[in-house]
């Protein structure tokens, strides 16, 4: 495999979508080619940043407010869909009105009861802003992952290795004298760290207690009998 082949496959490799043999060939090339390895690092970095950003947005959302609002409206909504929507607007408007009255006294800036503008309650406005921010983050993620040199087909976005879709988040790894592969099975939500000892001679590795190196990217080397 050469750099051109690797560039064509690197997104699929990153998403773990290649079959065993191609995956192994790609891994062997990418881990030995500084340019392709750098490409892979770029993708990891982007994915990490996106995951971090999305998690931050989610952490900041007060989801308890959603359920309070949903419960309240479910209790009040009639069965007919259109009527339900209208009734919901009425209820939200009425609450918006009373809330503004309490906070601002006169409430002069609020549209009169019964008009369309009253649907915009403070609760829903904050939720809408949060929802729009989340949607924008996801859109940016989709756009950024879909862009890159050698990208000829649209690859699906798999959950990032750092995301909560996988139960494990690796913070650092040091494996002196060994090769390490990591993979996970989303169905089982289990991550595997596979160590292939390059030098089984006792005492050949780094002495115990040596300072660990910073987070290192494991070389995706596959073992016989191991499913990629």
């Amino acid at each position: 495999m050469n750099c051109r082949d690797a560039a064509r496959l690197i997104d699929y490799f990153f998403d773990g979508e290649l079959d065993g043999r191609v995956m192994r060939d790609a891994a062997l090339h990418i881990t030995r080619c500084a340019s392709c390895e750098s490409e892979l690092h770029d993708r990891e970095r982007v994915q990490g940043l996106l995951a971090e950003s999305i998690h931050r947005e989610l952490d900041e959302m007060d989801l308890s407010v959603i359920w309070t609002a949903v419960d309240r409206e479910l209790a009040l909504a009639p069965t007919d869909r259109n009527r339900s929507r209208f009734a919901t607007a009425e209820v939200a408007g009425a609450e918006s009105w009373s809330a503004d009255e309490e906070w601002n006294g006169a409430g002069s800036a609020v549209t009169a009861p019964g008009t369309f503008g009253r649907r915009w309650s403070p609760v829903w406005s904050s939720l809408t802003v949060a929802g729009l921010a989340l949607a924008a983050s996801i859109l940016v993620a989709v756009m950024m992952l879909g862009y890159g040199p050698g990208k000829e087909q649209t690859a699906s976005i798999s959950p990032p290795p750092h995301a909560s879709a996988n139960q494990v988040r690796i913070e650092s790894m040091d494996y002196p004298g060994s090769s390490v592969a990591m993979w996970s099975e989303p169905e089982d939500d289990t991550m595997v760290i596979w160590i292939e000892d390059d030098d089984p001679t006792p005492g050949a590795g780094v002495p115990v207690g040596a300072a660990p190196s910073p987070a290192a990217k494991p070389a995706p080397v596959r073992m016989p009998g191991v499913r990629p």
Binding site: E101, N104, V168, M173, T190, V192, D197, P207, V226, R227
Partner: protein, 174 residues
């Protein structure tokens, strides 16, 4: 008059300053609640740091000799079959250890290996661990990771007889 009353330190006047501010005495209650909340936020992490964590560890020998699946591994059959291609899986040992955050849990692993697990913290239903696998005086791997409470990670690869070892490491809070 309301302002003067407050300055002299007597019972605050409950007359609203503006329409909508209904009870002027409530800020006291709110202050107490806020202080309580702040206390919880300040002291909760310290309390969590003192949590005890049960480290679960098991060692399985996986080979391509014969077709055998240890009954004791029945609950992990699907995971092993989805993740690996070995034909035989035998449980060699299983051990649980309860340790506090920052304390070391050490486990002997067949083949002269030694597994060290140190729970570092427990936050938001996730347990942060440092795991080191040693072979005699050699460090095979040293990794820090977080996993969900009651989550499991598999560390495999060390050779053992005609197969390899697969070690599962789990953590759950007490």
């Amino acid at each position: 008059m309301a302002g003067v009353t407050r300055l002299t330190g007597t019972t605050p006047d409950v007359t609203p300053l503006r329409r909508g501010r209904r009870v002027a005495g409530r800020p006291k209650v709110a202050s107490v609640l806020l202080l309580g909340l702040a206390g919880v936020l300040v002291f909760a992490p310290a309390a969590r740091a003192g949590d005890r964590v049960i480290i679960q560890m098991g060692t399985v020998r996986a080979t391509n000799t014969g077709a055998y699946f240890d009954d004791q591994l029945a609950s992990m059959r699907r995971q092993f079959q989805n993740l690996f291609h070995f034909t035989s899986y035998q449980l060699l040992k299983e051990e649980n250890r309860s340790v506090g955050c920052g304390d070391l849990a050490g486990f002997d692993v067949p083949g002269g290996r030694y597994l060290q697990v140190v729970p570092k913290s427990v936050n938001d239903d996730r347990v942060s661990l440092n795991v080191r696998l040693l072979q005699e005086s050699r460090l095979l791997i040293n990794t820090d990771f977080t996993l969900r409470n009651r989550g499991t990670i598999l560390v495999g690869g060390p050779r053992d007889q005609e197969g390899v070892l697969i070690i599962w490491i789990g953590a759950r809070t007490e």
